[in-house]
């Protein structure tokens, strides 16, 4: 008798402690420290949205106006906070609308967890309403994905999703949740994931490689550091600074690495790549030892590979083994987390300065200043330039702002001319070049960094790709500052047409709406600047305004970004103008 009673007791207790998969999902997200979800509800995710209401005090949901807006916002949030960005959508179109952002996060190594609803498991593969093979579709563009078909899988899968998204080389993870798993019940127990046997988050550093690298660096006459986002993702900004300061080596950045080192740092020699600085590009083909740190030799950085850094011994510090020798063969590959490998290397190198070598960069800067920069920042012609807008923004914010860009000419002007003091203060779509990224990403960045001034610099083309997110901004009232640089063209494509397609402007002219009226309709205050005389005042008004603000600036229509290493050319062949 006694035994029977106790079994019933256990059963009773079990029933009492059982919760739904949706509730378990919420508790799991709380365990992972999730504070914000960017999302959009729909049929197949409704149980989760219902559970979300029980936790509104701890998890803030931001209702975007399109799922693409949700994921770009999550990306902006993740990039400025260093946390995992979370977005949530329904099945079918809700999930497919995320794809561009997932692909963007994959190529730019952004930690994102996407939770997508899915039809109930018995209907999988039956062409049910709003059913899409989300696992299949996202496979090539995710670090990991998983279809949950039972409620009791949820805690472990969510723990793994966050672990995989944020460790190693970060990336997007998609968790597809069948509706029956959301409804189903389980006994909730959460255990954080700390390792997965088939996955190496941090490869061990080989001491021999550090020695070899140090030897090359100590012998080098013209050593040159190229750094990328790996420094930021590895939270190794301090270690990186210690390394370059002891070695005295000039350092140039990829677009995603920009804010890893303050722009004004004496060893910061500027930007690499197609629209990078003159010196940084040509010196790639003059240095004797190239030290690549947390970067992946994108083709926009290397130009023609057969003419890239052939003279240099290459040291590659990299976390992802698949990046070693992928593009540029490394003479010494230091596999591992730069947070660990850099201090080991710093210890082994001699304290040096490379004054005459750094002067070579400065001499190039003088040439570039005269040929390009001066005209871009202090134009003497009537048309407003993107360069001067960016210059004034920098002056007014003293390098303290977070700058988010869209893709195209404004992105290049912002990358080239914005000065920044802090890490994680530059957010841009690098690898994928996603137009429409800027507006939602700026919003997400402001949500992640509410105490910072967040400025989105966006062109008129990209602005219209995700313009509906103005409504989201109006709903959150996040005080994001949007600077719309309007030249009535798809400027970068038009520039290429001018330079390489005999000025045949195919499909690049835009007939634009009245953006200020549009903003007004969305409830966002705006102002349009058409004259140089009011530009500074306009920027001040935007910065001083308490709330979101759209500043539209009418830019000279057919201006170009220079210098330029044309696609497929050597980094030594830098163009300064269209002549």
């Amino acid at each position: 008798m006694k035994e029977q009673t106790s079994i019933t007791d256990i059963e009773k207790k079990d029933k009492m402690t059982k919760i739904t998969g949706s509730e378990a999902l919420m508790l799991s997200l709380l365990q992972e420290g999730v504070e914000v979800i960017f999302g959009y509800p729909g049929g197949a995710i409704m149980p989760v949205y219902d559970a979300l209401m029980n936790h509104e005090d701890k998890i803030r949901h931001i209702l975007t106006r399109h799922e693409q807006g949700a994921i770009h916002a999550a990306q902006g949030y993740a990039r400025v906070t260093g946390k995992v960005g979370v977005c949530m959508t329904t099945s079918g179109p809700g999930a497919t609308n995320l794809i561009t952002g997932v692909a963007d996060a994959m190529v730019d190594s952004t930690p994102i967890v996407c939770l997508t609803g899915q039809v109930t498991s018995p209907l999988l593969g039956s062409d049910a309403f709003q059913e899409t093979d989300v696992i299949g579709i996202t496979m090539p563009v995710t670090k990991w994905n998983y279809l949950v078909t039972q409620a009791d899988e949820i805690p472990e899968v969510i723990a793994q999703a966050f672990y995989i998204a944020r460790t190693g080389r970060p990336g997007p993870v998609v968790i597809d949740l069948a509706k029956n798993a959301q409804f189903g019940e389980l006994n909730f127990k959460y255990k954080k994931c700390t390792s997965i046997r088939s996955y190496v988050a941090r490869p061990e550093i080989e001491a021999d490689k550090i020695k070899e690298a140090a030897k090359l660096i100590n012998k080098a006459k013209k050593p040159y550091v190229l750094f990328g986002q790996g420094v930021i993702l590895g939270r190794a900004e301090k270690e990186f600074r210690a390394f370059i300061e002891k070695s005295g080596i000039p350092a140039a950045w990829t677009i995603l690495g920009k804010s890893a080192l303050p722009t004004d740092h004496p060893l910061n020699v500027g930007m690499l790549g197609m629209h990078g600085n003159y010196g940084t590009n040509i010196k790639s083909n003059e240095c004797d030892v190239m030290i690549a740190i947390g970067m992946r030799f994108d083709d926009r950085v290397t130009g023609d590979l057969s003419k890239y850094a052939k003279q240099a011994k290459v040291i590659h510090l990299e976390l992802d083994p698949a990046e070693i020798n992928k593009i540029v063969k490394a003479d010494v590959a230091v596999l591992g987390d730069v947070k660990e490998s850099l201090p080991m290397l710093t210890e082994k190198i001699e304290r040096k300065t490379h004054e005459s070598w750094i002067k070579e960069f400065k001499d190039c800067d003088k040439i570039e200043y005269e040929k390009v920069i001066n005209k871009a920042l202090y134009p003497d012609k009537p048309g407003l330039t993107m360069g001067e807008v960016v210059r004034i923004i920098t002056e007014k914010t003293n390098g303290e702002a977070i700058v988010v860009t869209d893709v195209g000419q404004q992105q290049m002007f912002a990358s080239r001319y914005v000065k920044l003091n802090h890490t994680r203060s530059f957010v841009t779509s690098g690898g994928l070049g996603t137009m429409g990224f800027g507006l939602p990403a700026a919003h997400g960045a402001k949500i992640g960094a509410p105490d910072k001034v967040v400025i989105g610099i966006i062109g008129d083309g990209g602005f219209q790709m995700t313009i509906q997110e103005l409504a989201t901004i109006n709903q959150t009232q996040a005080a994001v500052k949007l600077v719309l640089l309007n030249n009535t063209y798809l400027g970068m494509v038009r520039q290429w047409q001018q330079l390489f397609f005999n000025k045949r402007y195919s499909a690049t002219k835009l007939k634009n709406p009245d953006f200020i009226k549009v903003a007004e309709g969305f409830g966002i205050k705006g102002r349009k600047i058409t004259e140089r005389s009011t530009l500074e005042n306009g920027i001040e008004e935007m910065l001083n305004y308490d709330g979101p603000f759209l500043l539209e600036v009418e830019i000279e229509k057919e201006a170009n970004v220079f210098p330029m290493v044309p696609a497929g050319a050597s980094v030594s062949d830098v163009m300064f103008s269209s002549d």
Partner: protein, 184 residues
Amino acid sequence: MKKSYTITAFSENHVGLLNRITIIFTRRHVNIETLTVSASAIKGIHKFTIVINDTKEKVEKVVSQIEKLVEVLKAYYHTDDEIVHQEIALYKVPTRALLESNTLEKTIRNHNARILEVTPEFTVIEKTGHKEETQELFEILNKYGVKQFTRSGRVAITRSKKELLTSYLKEVDKAQSIHITNNN
């Protein structure tokens, strides 16, 4: 220079991994010559054996991309002389044609083939060997009119003295113990 490489990948036994692995080839426009998937000697671990014809550089990159997959434990590549490999072929031939031949016994014997089934209508012959060998037998048997022919993907065992995966797993086991979600 392009030549034949055998890639072996060891993975967790999870839904969708085959797809994850093959899209790495598809994306790089690399054709898969043969592919075999089966349980390995280690419980819960699956083995993929993939043969491609490409340059060393390409195969190295493909292998590092395979190994990058979260659920793949290890991936290796070998040239043909570093492995012992076999394929199996089955031939369905009209029995009457075979009976009329006076060299059949010699052919079967010389090729180390064997007969699996004989019916009044057809005979099924099996041969294991390298592709060239199973192909050679096909050419001979086809004189009698092969009605069906099928060849498996390659299976392979390395010649190396060290058992790569076993030692890797020992290292991993030492370091940690948690498994990824088990689908079994």
